[in-house]
C-alpha cells in the first residue's frame, strides 16, 4: 500500500471537526477542529494534561469521541474504522511492547495484524528493522532492550505497513539526550514520505521537526499556525541584541533617546527587567512593533564610534509563545 494511493484526491489527511471527549464531568477535548495536509509534519504542543493524547487515541480508534468527527485519509473513524486504521501507524506515549517476544516476532505479529503476510511481511519487517536501526537486536527479547531501542521498535511497528499517516505520541519521551537526538533524526528522515502528527511538550522538538504547530491548552486549541507566524502574531514588541566594544557611559540614555525604543535591558538578564550598566557591553533593545530600528542604531553606533560588534533581531522563541498562550487569558484572544 503506497501512501499516495490512499490519498483519494483530498489534500487533507487528518480532519478533525468539533471533536469533544468527556470522561464523566471531565472535558478532555472541547470542540477541537484542525486538519493536517498530506505530507505535512504537524506538532501537537501543550503542557501535560492538555488533551493531546486523547486526540491521538481518538484518531487511532482507541477511544470513541463523545461528539464531533475525526477522519483519516478520507475515512471517518466512527463509520469506517477499519479502512481508516489501515492508513495509520501509531506510536503511543508508553511504547506498547510484548516483553516475552523477540524483536522479529513482535514485528511479525504486528505486521500480520496489519494484513501483511508471507514474503511481503518479511520484506516489510526487514525494511523497518533497517530504517529504525534495530538490526543488531533482532534476536533479543523485547524486555531486555534499552529504552532507546524500545522506542525505536515502537516506531518500527508503527511503520511496518508503510502507513500514509503516522501518529506519534511523545516519541522522545523518557529518552536520554543522545537517544532523543537520534529519534528526532529518524523522524525527520520520515518527513515527506508520511503525513505526521506528533505530540510533544518539548518546544525545541516542535521547532526542530514540525512545519506547523497546534498549541493545546486545557482541552482546547490555543493556536494553530506556522511557527514563525505564531511568534509574530504574539509579539507585542520587537527586540534586538546589541553588543558594543566601546560603549560611552551614558549609552543607556543615548539609546533610550532613539524614538520608538521602549526599554533597554542588560544582555544577561533582560527578562528580569534590570537596566544594563555602563560596564556591560551587551544589551537588548526593545522597541515598538513595526519600527525597524536596526538601521538607526547601526548609524548612530558608527557615527559615535561605539565599536559595534553585534546587532541581531531577536525572534520570540516558541517557548515564549507557549508560555504566553498557556499562562493567561491570551488563549481566548488568539484562538
Amino acid at each position: 500500500m503506497k501512501p499516495a494511493e490512499t490519498d483519494r484526491g483530498s489534500s487533507s489527511m487528518i480532519e478533525v471537526q468539533d471533536l469533544t471527549k468527556r470522561y464523566g464531568h471531565v472535558v478532555a477535548n472541547d470542540s477541537i477542529s484542525f486538519s493536517v495536509r498530506n505530507g505535512e509534519i504537524v506538532g501537537l504542543l501543550g503542557p501535560n494534561g492538555a488533551g493531546k493524547t486523547t486526540v491521538m487515541r481518538i484518531l487511532t480508534g482507541c477511544l470513541p469521541a463523545t461528539s464531533g468527527t475525526a477522519s483519516v485519509g478520507g475515512y471517518e473513524l466512527s463509520t469506517h474504522a477499519t479502512k481508516a486504521k489501515r492508513q495509520i501507524g501509531y506510536l503511543p506515549e508508553f511504547v506498547p511492547l510484548y516483553p516475552d517476544m523477540t524483536v522479529t516476532e513482535y514485528l511479525d505479529f504486528l505486521g500480520a495484524l496489519r494484513d501483511l503476510r508471507g514474503r511481503t511481511l518479511r520484506a516489510a519487517r526487514e525494511g523497518v528493522i533497517e530504517r529504525c536501526g534495530v538490526g543488531e537486536m533482532r534476536r533479543r527479547l523485547v524486555k531486555n532492550l534499552s529504552k532507546g531501542y524500545q522506542q525505536r521498535l515502537g516506531l518500527a511497528q508503527a511503520l511496518i505497513h508503510n502507513p500514509a499517516v503516522l501518529i506519534l505520541d511523545e516519541p522522545t519521551g523518557g529518552l536520554d539526550p543522545r537517544q532523543t537526538h537520534e529519534m528526532r533524526q529518524l523522524i525527520s528522515k520520515l518527513a515527506g514520505q508520511h503525513t505526521i502528527l506528533l505530540s510533544t511538550h518539548i518546544l525545541p522538538e516542535a521547532t526542530a521537526l514540525c512545519q506547523r504547530v497546534i498549541i493545546m491548552h486545557k482541552g482546547r486549541i490555543a493556536a494553530v499556525d506556522e511557527q514563525e507566524h505564531l511568534a509574530a502574531r504574539l509579539r507585542k514588541s520587537e527586540k534586538l541584541t546589541l553588543r558594543l566594544r566601546h560603549p560611552p557611559p551614558d549609552i543607556v540614555d543615548q539609546l533610550k533617546a532613539i524614538p520608538g525604543v521602549i526599554g533597554i535591558y542588560s544582555g544577561s538578564d533582560w527578562g528580569k527587567g534590570r537596566l544594563g550598566g555602563p560596564g556591560e557591553c551587551r544589551w537588548i533593545v526593545e522597541y515598538e512593533l513595526g519600527k525597524d530600528l536596526a538601521e538607526e542604531i547601526a548609524r548612530r553606533a558608527v557615527q559615535r564610534a561605539w565599536g559595534l560588534a553585534e546587532l541581531t533581531p531577536l525572534s520570540l522563541s516558541l517557548e515564549e509563545v507557549f508560555l504566553n498562550l498557556t499562562n493567561s487569558d491570551t488563549v481566548e484572544a488568539s484562538s
Binding site: R57, T60, G61, C62, A81, T82, K83, K85, R86, I88, Y90, P92, F94, P96, L97, Y98, P99, D100, M101, E105, F109, L110, A112, L113, R114, D115, Q157
Partner: protein
C-alpha cells in the same frame, strides 16, 4: 477470521512460553490424579464389600461409582483453574498498554476477543485431554460404556466454554491479573453455589430438578 487466528496464535505462544500454564496444568493434573485415586479406591472397597456379603460378583457400575463423582469434582476444580488460565488475557494487555496496538490495528474487536477465547479454549482442551489417561488406565481393569465417558467429556468441555467466557470477562475488568483471577473464581463459585443451595439439588445432579437457569 485471519486476525482472530493471529491473535490466538500469539496467545498460545504466550501460554506455552510462560510458566503459568505449566504450573496451573501441573497442579490441576495432580489434584485430579489424587481425586481419581480416591474415588477408585472407594469404589473398589465397596465392590469388595458387596462381594463378601452377597457372595457374588456385583454389577460394578464404573460410571456411577467412579466417573460421576470424578467429573463432578473435576468441574469444581476447574472453577478455580480456568480463571487462572484466563486472568492474563486482557489484564496484561492493559497493564502493558498493548491494547492500544490491538485497537489501532485494522481488525474487528470480535477477532481480538475471539482470538483470546480460542487460545484459552485450545489450552483447556489440551488439559482435558491429558486427564483422559485416567479412564484409559481404568479400562485395563474394568469395562464401562465409552459413550457415557465421551458424553461426560463433552459436557465438561462445554462447561469449560462457560468458564473461559466468565474468566475472559473478569480479565477485561481490571489491569491486575490477580484481581481478574479472583473475580473470575468469585463469579463461577457464586453460580456453583446457586446449584448447591437449591433445596432438592443432590450432589450428582438430577436433570429433572427445578434449578435456577443460571446455576452450573
Amino acid at each position: 477470521m485471519r486476525a482472530l487466528w493471529i491473535i490466538a496464535r500469539r496467545e498460545l505462544w504466550s501460554y506455552l512460553t510462560s510458566p503459568v500454564a505449566y504450573v496451573v496444568s501441573g497442579i490441576f493434573l495432580a489434584v485430579i490424579g489424587f481425586l481419581f485415586y480416591g474415588v477408585a479406591k472407594i469404589a473398589s472397597e465397596r465392590s469388595m464389600q458387596l462381594l463378601q456379603y452377597q457372595g457374588m460378583v456385583p454389577a460394578f457400575n464404573v460410571v456411577q461409582l467412579v466417573f460421576r463423582p470424578m467429573f463432578h469434582n473435576m468441574a469444581l476444580v476447574l472453577v478455580f483453574v480456568v480463571p487462572l488460565l484466563t486472568m492474563r488475557l486482557f489484564a496484561e494487555e492493559r497493564r502493558q498498554r498493548t491494547y492500544d496496538l490491538l485497537f489501532s490495528a485494522p481488525i474487528p474487536v470480535i477477532s481480538i476477543v475471539g482470538g483470546k477465547f480460542l487460545a484459552a479454549l485450545i489450552i483447556y482442551t489440551g488439559l482435558l485431554a491429558l486427564t483422559f489417561v485416567l479412564p484409559a488406565m481404568l479400562a485395563q481393569y474394568a469395562t464401562f460404556p465409552w459413550t457415557a465417558l465421551a458424553a461426560a467429556y463433552v459436557g465438561l468441555w462445554l462447561l469449560g466454554l462457560v468458564f473461559i467466557g466468565v474468566g475472559l470477562f473478569a480479565s477485561a475488568l481490571t489491569e491486575y491479573q490477580i484481581v481478574a483471577g479472583f473475580i473470575g473464581v468469585g463469579i463461577l463459585l457464586a453460580l456453583w453455589v446457586i446449584g448447591l443451595i437449591t433445596p432438592d439439588a443432590d450432589t450428582y445432579g438430577n436433570p429433572e430438578e427445578d434449578r435456577p437457569g443460571c446455576s452450573l
